[in-house]
Symmetry: C2
Subunit: 125 residues, 2 copies
Amino acid sequence: MTGEDVMGKEVKGNKKLNWPKPYFAVVFTAQRSLSGDDIYEITSDRMMDLAQQQPGFLGVESVRGDDGLGITVSYWRDRDAIRAWRENSEHLIAQEMGRQEFYQWYRVRIAEVTDDHAFFADTAI
Amino acid sequence: MTGEDVMGKEVKGNKKLNWPKPYFAVVFTAQRSLSGDDIYEITSDRMMDLAQQQPGFLGVESVRGDDGLGITVSYWRDRDAIRAWRENSEHLIAQEMGRQEFYQWYRVRIAEVTDDHAFFADTAI
């Protein structure tokens, strides 16, 4: 499973988001290094699965461009859920692998989402 | 200029963000349609330039994947700056073109960023 898959399912399946507001977002922007492709894919897919099993997880959107720049935005019910996920033991190992191997740099932002709106073309699924 | 260029310059040139907290983010997640490539590129580049000229603009990160899914996160000093940008006359026209032509769907979220942190590998530029 890739981030794109998660995104597609999540958004297309939920045109109306019934998420209690405010909810919270983690914006993870990262530049992949040129090494460790296989283990990166395995780790990334595992983290995507694991995140979705966490209490308070609402959804995720993830895109990576050809140049290795990626943005993943995950959505959570509250700040405690984000904290618990950040401190998840398996996730902590993945974070360390990210610093050692996967990323040239990354930036993490925590934000409170207060408004959202969406558009869907008539031709969209 | 592409969003990726903006991103690269913005982040690599500013390891420490001296942005007053809290600042605000607009998370724009969008699925491109298969039409209008040339006019889309022109419009997208123009909006990226124009956004940066707006009062209260702080920065932008933008990625689009091969499947046409994109995430653009723009950062702003306050909610008034976001409102003014949303109502910019040239931007309003681009938004309408987005609905008519460029996107199968999109979702816009407004969020207040309360925390950020970053990692840069020793080998990173």
